[in-house]
């Protein structure tokens, strides 16, 4: 096992660790908003490292064999990463807003300015 393969395993390890942490966050936190924190941050970060591992592997194989399919592998994973970085927080925002508009209140909240704004608007 050489240095590049070690690096790939390190990336995969970080990726799995943070995705696991995201799953724990789903179990540990009390309501939809705090769970979204864990679900979006940890899975995005974990997936970035999964993509890093794929790109490293692909570039290494490209360097070794010169086969163009590895170039495609690296580029496609990288585009998937950019799409994920743009859509994951947007999706979390949409879920949070939808949850609030459907009347799900944040548990144990010390302040809820959005509720005050909505309440002030309807009265």
């Amino acid at each position: 096992m050489n240095y590049v393969e070690t690096l790939i395993y390190i990336f995969l390890g970080i990726s799995v660790a943070f995705n696991l942490l995201g799953s724990f966050a789903l179990l540990r936190f009390p309501d939809v908003y705090t769970r979204l924190h864990g679900a979006t941050k940890c899975t995005t970060f974990g997936t970035i490292f999964a993509v890093f591992a794929v790109v490293t592997h692909a570039l290494y194989q490209l360097h070794r064999t010169g086969d163009s399919k590895y170039l495609q592998m690296a580029l496609h994973s990288f585009i998937a990463l950019i799409a994920l970085l743009l859509t994951n927080p947007t999706g979390a925002h949409a879920i949070a807003k939808a949850a609030h508009l459907s009347g799900v209140k944040p548990v144990r909240a010390v302040v809820d300015a959005y509720e005050e704004k909505l309440g002030g608007g309807s009265e």
């Binding site: 936190f29 927080p89 300015a113």
Partner: protein
């Protein structure tokens, strides 16, 4: 102009997706098919993309996005250790706070909202360009900051970056 922007963007994505079809470069079929499909996409989306989109052709802006990547990445590293700490200890003090921000257009709101969703302890619930405020779910509201007067404790360095990148 919006047609050219949409066309260029679609064609670049096509080229990235089909690289390696002829050795490490592109075969002629892919290049021609890409031109046709990018033209269709450019024509179909030119009204949605809008006149403002030409500012994204500025190469300085692209360098800005590249320089922004490590800042965002470092923010995400801190965010993940923060969430890890809260998952293990269970110490949370959640709340939705109203954060006044000083931004001008939709692109800046998008960049800032997405960035602070990925960075420590904050999740954008609603962006309101009319009253220039973000409603942010904060997982650990510090005592005395339930009604923040400025955006600094929530957005950190990201507001400055969003203002610069989305201009």
């Amino acid at each position: 102009m919006p047609f050219i922007v949409a066309f260029l963007f679609a064609y670049i994505v096509w080229l990235l997706l089909t690289a390696g079809s002829n050795g490490l470069l592109w075969s002629t079929e892919e290049l021609v098919a890409g031109l046709i499909f990018a033209a269709i996409i450019g024509y179909a989306t030119k009204d949605i993309v809008g006149e403002n989109s030409t500012r994204f052709l500025n190469p300085v802006k692209w360098l800005g996005f590249i320089a922004y990547a490590p800042v965002l990445f470092w923010g995400m590293v801190k965010a993940n250790f923060d969430v890890a700490y809260r998952v293990i200890t269970g110490k949370i003090r959640p709340g939705i706070v109203r954060v006044p921000v000083d931004l001008e257009n939709d692109a800046q709101y998008t960049i800032l909202s997405n960035s602070i969703t990925l960075t420590p302890g904050t999740l954008t619930v609603e962006a309101d360009p009319e009253e220039k405020a973000l409603y942010v779910h904060w997982i650990n509201v510090p005592k005395g900051l339930e009604r923040p007067e400025s955006s600094e404790p929530v957005t950190g360095p990201f507001e400055k970056w969003a203002r610069r990148l989305g201009r």
